[in-house]
Symmetry: C2
Subunit: 474 residues, 2 copies
Amino acid sequence: MKVDTLIINADLFTMQGDGVGYIDKGAVAIERGKIIEVGATEILKNNFEPEETIDATNKMVVPGFIDAHMHTHLSVIRGLAQDTKKWMHKGIGPFSDFITDAYAFPSSKMNILEGLASGTTTFGDYGNGMDDVASFIYKLGARGRLTTTVREVPEVLDQLQEEDLYPFEKAIGEKTLNANLDLIEKWHGKDNNRITTLLGPQAPDFLSTDLLMKIKKIAIEKDLKIHMHTTQAARETKQMVGRYNKRTIQYLDELNYLDERLIAVHMTDATNEEAKQLAESGATMTLCSGSIGIIRGEVPPVKAFLDAGGVSALGSDQAPGNNCNQIINEMKLTALFNKIKYDNPEVMPAWKVLRMATIEGAKAFGIGGEVGSIEKGKKADITFIDLASKAMLPVIKKPLRNHVPNLVYSARGEEVCRVMVDGKTLYLDNEFLTVDEDSIVKESQKLATELTSQITEEDIQITKGLEYMRENKL
Amino acid sequence: MKVDTLIINADLFTMQGDGVGYIDKGAVAIERGKIIEVGATEILKNNFEPEETIDATNKMVVPGFIDAHMHTHLSVIRGLAQDTKKWMHKGIGPFSDFITDAYAFPSSKMNILEGLASGTTTFGDYGNGMDDVASFIYKLGARGRLTTTVREVPEVLDQLQEEDLYPFEKAIGEKTLNANLDLIEKWHGKDNNRITTLLGPQAPDFLSTDLLMKIKKIAIEKDLKIHMHTTQAARETKQMVGRYNKRTIQYLDELNYLDERLIAVHMTDATNEEAKQLAESGATMTLCSGSIGIIRGEVPPVKAFLDAGGVSALGSDQAPGNNCNQIINEMKLTALFNKIKYDNPEVMPAWKVLRMATIEGAKAFGIGGEVGSIEKGKKADITFIDLASKAMLPVIKKPLRNHVPNLVYSARGEEVCRVMVDGKTLYLDNEFLTVDEDSIVKESQKLATELTSQITEEDIQITKGLEYMRENKL
């Protein structure tokens, strides 16, 4: 049978079954962007006549990584709100007014390339200006699963104390919901579902109950998922208790918001009991270990969530406080932070976080039927890792295989040598095949310099940052 | 004045003073491997006529990183003892008999290249077969500060339970001490102190009081530092209490072992009070965040140690349980693990861990007078980071600089574009200039395959590893 592409001789980790689904000298046949057969090279070589053969000898081949939660528009201020408490109000808050779409978008592009070059194939970007991001991801050839932020709180967080209840403005809610609906209208399902969209109420404390219920109604009508920051910090709990006299999960439960439509991001301030309640409701989770570790020094209750049968994706969140946007980093930090939290090196083994980065992540993000494993009938989103990389050497196959632990604990991103979406190679040996990296880098740098040149010391509220700048500690 | 090399236009982080010692458009004049002037490019360009000019425009230039604790010989089994309790006895223990010098050395070389390519200039390797390692580092041109393991415990750990007191064999002590003395005799001070050596009693529970005292006497006579694993785990504390009825720090204190000659590695099981006692004694510390996080799920009391005025280096430890050997990773994990331990994002800011990787590390490791900062009179061990790397973009200089947070929280190692030791470039744009990487990679892989082909499932005791292998989770 004729096919477009045959990958052969791979150290193939299909993620089929409940482990990593390893096939030695594995092969994958791809036709029109879809995987039509997976198996031994010897067999597939006999059964298929490929247009293109990709010899993956000494390559670890895995499903493309799912980054289920990013705010790429914030990468224009990567590294500017660090090592500080009150990160949201006083850290990034003061910069927010300055970051218009025109400044943010070039860095968003840079950030997406950073992820792709580290093996991410699905980008769960979340913010404003998503139409531009959608166009870029569409052109790049990657998979986008995008969300517009819907909120009723004006840009005044930097003027508030954390104990002040946020003001709500109905007009902002209408405007942002309309932007979300426009995104959905224009992009949802584009190019055979390569670009899809979600509804994005920012967080239970950022919009009124009315608007939250309106969004839920739309979600049901349009059959969409709801991508929402949920119990993201003690700060949110204070708002919820102050306004409704109840904690987030109880509030959402009473609104019938806890079901398989909800993707709850962060869960930082959830108790183990609340995590369990969420898992049992069918809602899924997105864990952003790096960003929550850096900006809060906390480890969300993902173990309690998984133990209760929940499914969680990984997300890289935002650059002024993660600071990198790539999933290999998230796998490593998720494994390590949880070992430390539970004082137990057997907690969160490598295979478990690799599943969260691939098949579990795809399920949690609502695209488990299409991607997340290398499996007959799924789309060919595939990441290749060069096993001759210094961090992956030596490669050992018996008596134990060391690929998965070394990918999680040793690899850094640069080992990724090929990234494919819908069967099409987008990145190969440090080159992007569909966009011009150089011009994106230059534009991103130029606009970041222009943006930050407008910001003075007086605008900044991150006390630690200014103190460090004055003391020559930055 | 004529000089060998002039580095110009750098975003220069000298680490002078108590911060990061930043100089915009900085320059460094180097003559015969030594830094003879540091300052503004405009001024130094007028004062020096260089043989070679290195234009460091858009490069972050920092002192070469100090990796004060490595066991490169174990990298031949990278990734084989993971996600398991009883790592030392049941994890790497069963492999130990198989790892002869002939198998270990090629992987040691690979491992040292991994570190160099990530900006490490000083390699604190610790193990057996150090003569070969010294020869390789000498040839490579890097800085070696090497230690032979001295112990009296035979290779029987995998046959013991953790509660059994280790047997001591005097003959093993004599043999290993002689090997340590041979290393010192042959290498200490070689090439104008580029290779130096230390005394290496493995840990207080691995040799008798007599041998420990003998080593201390030699240290004083020869004016050498003692590089010793100290309170490295609860396992050690059990041995000490079982044998001497006291904890490690009290035992060492009574032996007058706590002074500026001691470099105490790990300190995992030390209380904050013991960490303070150690700091006040003048002893220094080496912290291996990555390895202790992975193999024990613990965060050593480095904050208590630093708060009490102690000085600590960073170390990458060993590959079957870290798994990478590079200091950018150690900076990041040190900052993050401590934020989490103290539930406080302001703990261990980026500048502090960068100091541990450079100037504080050099001081803790006993070479603070020679390297660790870019400073007149010091040796020119310098690492260049490409600011056009995806993980470092955009570069911002005002109102806050973002170089240091992005190096610590975002960079992964591949951003290192040039590494210089004693003023000589050893690594440039992915190429090693003094050794042939290809042949080292091939040899390392070949011998690792040969080694592991001798090991059967029956030899392995890592229950989790075998279980995972059978369940297709590796």
